[in-house]
């Protein structure tokens, strides 16, 4: 029942004693349903994330019969609610935000019986003891069998106090011998390398690594998982997937939105912290990793980690040569005027925060030596779009093509959002007597029609954590390595105020410095 990882001791397998026969009715009926009964405890349950994402995700898991037969949902927050008031609030959130539409009877009535609420301070051990008694009661009444999944959806500053209270109140895994205890921690995991290490030291006092699920909802998106399918379920790409054939790789995460209501948080974070350090580097590891020996989640996470350890450290003296940063000015998006970043609510009028970040990285291993990876992310850009573009090298010898024809490099693009699919650019002959060559694009789009939308990332990720599958969660060593990779940039950017800010108009392609970053290598960004 426990997730505790013991040291690798080899023991002789023992014959099963009185092991029950397998259920013969299960042959051929693979169920995705989560098997272990459990309580899932949401800290910060009165917050926006709970209302918009987490509770709707739980409800939809129930509607799709994915939840175990016996489960409990416990909200914990400072706000004062009775169980009934909290359930009413949650019903409102379902009505407003659930992808399946408003809550319907009799399913909602059945579901809400399993929702309860504890009001308390995050640093008050008495409140956590009340929570423990509540969970023990749930075990008896709801049959949740001492399995507990904690979800930290509070501001990051509360992560450490909550973890500490979990331990002090006897809710930690060491005190739970009858079931498993796991914890999901929302991003950001730290605001820099030091704070991440400090948080980790608090986490590992209570939980071992196999019990910790650091969530990056980006990894729950279907197309991100499709990257592995493209690479490892096809034979034709992998032989070309190396320095011999690949010229460069661009990874883009572009948004049209500004900071909206997150100005206070974002102004102390910026694009490098908010996107590159986690989402974009995660995409890079999926593109660059070696084939794992197993589909086991640790094997996959091992390979992703190896990519991060092979990143060439950024020389502090080259930070301004190998990166670009930007901050959006007023402009227009879809024909509508939008304010500049410094005019956004809760943003300092002289802010030095990057709303656009680009970086050139190298992976120093046999597969990728000297192949540049260009990563960029920004707000208020011309289009929303996340993609990975693998640009292959030029043909070694030009055989075809009339004068004036250009033979473009092959480019394989994995589109992540909002379009989902793959396109391949290759050269073809233009019909006619002459051997004119032009580029054509072969596109494959993942359909999401059929009346059913792709499940939101949170449904997938919460389900995975309840199942104990950490494939799509980030392991501490990878978090640490990712912070390590970007720290020289963050430090130099903090040291040197960018006097050109704001340096790109909202609705554009980003700052000119980003164009120069690639131009210096004789390349250019794909158009956003």
């Amino acid at each position: 029942m426990s997730d505790s990882s013991s040291a690798a001791t080899l023991t002789r397998p023992t014959a099963p004693v009185n092991r029950p026969r397998p259920n013969p009715l299960r042959a051929g009926i693979d169920s995705n349903r989560l098997q272990d009964p459990c309580n899932i405890i949401f800290f910060g349950a009165s917050g926006d994330l709970m209302k918009r994402m987490l509770l709707p995700a739980m409800y939809n898991l129930r509607l799709e019969d994915m939840l175990p037969s016996d489960f409990g949902i416990v909200g914990f927050s400072r706000s004062s609610y009775t169980d009934e008031q909290f359930r009413a609030e949650m019903k409102k959130s379902i009505d407003e935000f659930s992808r399946s539409g408003p809550a319907k009877e009799p399913m909602w009535g059945d579901f809400e019986k399993r929702i309860s609420y504890i009001s308390g301070d995050f640093d008050d051990v008495a409140c956590f003891r009340s929570l423990r008694e509540h969970l023990e009661n749930n075990d008896k009444v709801l049959g949740t069998k001492s399995n507990r999944l904690f979800y930290l959806s509070t501001p990051p500053s509360l992560f450490s106090p909550i973890i500490n209270m979990i331990e002090q109140s006897g809710l930690g895994p060491r005190d739970n011998r009858d079931g498993w205890t796991r914890i999901i921690i929302e991003k950001p995991f730290g605001t820099d390398l030091d704070s991440a290490r400090a948080l980790q030291s608090e986490v590992e006092k209570v939980f071992n690594e196999r019990q910790v699920y650091r969530i990056d909802h980006y990894l729950g998106k279907e197309p991100v998982q499709d990257i592995m399918a493209l690479r490892f379920a096809n034979v034709i790409f992998e032989p070309l997937w190396n320095r011999r054939y690949v010229d460069s790789i661009q990874i883009t995460a572009a948004e049209t939105v500004g900071v909206e209501l997150r100005g206070g948080y974002y102004d102390s974070a910026g694009a490098m912290r908010d996107m590159i350090q986690n989402h974009v580097l995660n995409l890079m590891t999926l593109v660059a990793m070696e084939p794992p020996a197993l589909s086991d989640f640790e094997a996959i996470r091992d390979e992703k980690f190896k990519v991060l350890t092979a990143l060439r450290p950024i020389d502090r003296n080259r930070v301004f040569l190998d990166t670009a940063r930007g901050q959006y000015d007023a402009g227009s998006i879809a024909g509508k005027p939008v304010a500049g970043y410094r005019e956004e609510p809760d943003v300092a009028p002289d802010s030095n925060t990057d709303t656009y970040a680009a970086i050139k990285l190298y992976i120093d291993n046999w597969r990728w030596a000297d192949v540049p990876f260009y990563l960029r992310s920004g707000k208020r850009l011309a289009r929303k779009g996340s993609e990975i573009a693998v640009r292959f090298k030029s043909i070694p010898h030009r055989l075809f093509g009339e004068l004036g024809d250009t033979i473009d490099n092959n480019v394989l693009v994995m589109k992540i959002q909002p379009e989902e699919g793959i396109s391949l650019r290759f050269s073809a002959k233009v019909p006619g007597p002459k051997m004119h060559i032009r580029s054509v694009s072969m596109d494959f789009n993942y359909g999401t029609g059929f009346g059913v939308a792709s499940p939101p990332a949170y449904e997938r990720l919460i389900g995975d954590a309840m199942r104990g599958d950490a494939t799509l969660f980030t392991r501490w060593d990878a978090v640490e390595a990712a912070w390590g990779a970007v720290m020289p940039v963050l430090e130099r950017w903090q040291d040197v105020i960018d006097e050109t800010f704001p340096n790109y108009a909202a609705g554009g392609q980003g700052p000119a410095s980003a164009e120069r970053l690639l131009a210096a290598d004789g390349r250019e960004w794909r158009k956003i």
Binding site: P24, L25, I29, Q35, E420, G421, D443, N445, Y446, G447
Partner: protein
């Protein structure tokens, strides 16, 4: 020519005056990814729009070449080629392109139909035949088309509530060659099978399975009841002792009562009684998409709602496409149905 609700997202149809021009039009295919040939046979005019609508839904998700063979008496000869494309070029949510050829085949000989269909299928792709026709065995057109297919999809309770089609399927099972068989009536039972299995997932209740004393199923058509009974029997090592009775491995007789009631293609209730407990799953009176599962007796369990998931025909067709071509559990259950209905 046949029209379908799916046409709303389609390009203007190309009406081919002869089949050579149809092949030429297909050769100029604009779709950029294709996953299968999808042959659809229709010979019941009352069922035609229903089939075409579901075919269009499949093409919305799975880029494919659908060859719809319309043998209805009122069908006109000739062919129409319709290509689906996003109804809004900027819409990211509908991105699949497919093409559908609708051919009126009433009056054509079996050999003509076979040759025409074979010439329109694409090589290197799996071919799925969705046979919605009346009858299976002894149908020359069926025999001709099934040889072109890697997988066959039928629905034993698609249009009728008796056991005629499922009995024919038993006979086909013994005569078929390499084609995989999928019966939507069987696939529709997946949530019910899961619910029944779930009663006994708890290892402490596992042995209860070997003390079943009676089985009762209420469904709107016979195929579902037969399949559920055949499935339980084949999984638990029972033998059929007649049309309404099984014997377990110890020779204990297990009465099997099936009652036809409620909507066609839908199970209403399943009840399994062991020596100690009665396990029951019944569609909710308030919401027919929910099933109330409960147990009474020694291992009593309070009622619990279980949603009936993905039992609509497009979802079942999609599963038929995605799952492998053979299903041993299905085939052993079908053989048990054969023993029950012999």
């Amino acid at each position: 020519m046949p029209q379908s609700p799916g046409d709303v997202a389609m390009t203007a149809p190309i009406v081919a005056t002869d089949f050579d021009s149809l092949r030429a039009a297909l050769a100029r295919s604009s779709i950029s990814a294709t996953t299968m040939n999808f042959i659809v046979w229709i010979d019941d005019v009352g069922f035609r729009d229903w089939v075409l609508e579901r075919t269009a839904k499949i093409l919305d998700k799975h880029p494919a070449r659908a060859i719809v063979l319309d043998a209805c008496a009122d069908g006109k000869p000739g062919a129409t080629l319709v290509r689906s494309e996003p109804d809004d070029a900027d819409a990211a949510h509908i991105t699949v392109q497919g093409e559908r050829v609708e051919i009126g085949v009433a009056g054509m000989s079996t050999e003509q139909i076979r040759e025409l269909t074979a010439s329109l299928t694409m090589n290197e792709l799996p071919t799925l035949l969705w046979w919605t026709g009346k009858g299976i065995t002894g149908q020359p057109n069926f025999d001709a088309l099934v040889h072109l297919a890697d997988s066959l999809v039928v629905d034993s309770s698609g249009t009728r509530n008796d056991n005629a089609t499922v009995v024919e399927l038993v006979r086909f099972l013994d005569s078929r060659r390499s084609v995989g068989i999928r019966d939507l009536a069987w696939m529709r039972l997946r949530p019910w099978q899961d619910m029944i299995a779930r009663f006994f997932d708890d290892p402490t209740l596992r042995e209860e399975l070997y003390s079943v004393r009676s089985l009762q199923i209420i469904s709107g058509s016979d195929a579902e009841a037969l399949y559920l009974g055949g499935w339980l029997a084949s999984r638990l090592g029972w033998t059929a002792s007649g049309h309404d009775e099984f014997s377990d491995q110890s020779g204990v007789r297990i009465p099997f009562r099936s009652e036809r009631a409620g909507r066609i293609r839908r199970v209403r209730s399943v009840e399994l009684t062991t020596t100690t407990t009665t396990y029951n799953a019944t569609v909710s009176d308030d919401d027919e998409t929910l099933v109330v599962v409960k147990a009474s007796g020694k291992n009593a369990m309070n009622g619990r709602f279980v949603p009936l998931q993905a039992v609509d025909s497009p979802s079942l067709l999609e599963r038929a496409i995605l799952e492998g071509s053979t299903d041993e559990v299905f085939e052993t259950a079908l053989r048990m149905v054969g023993a029950l209905t012999a």
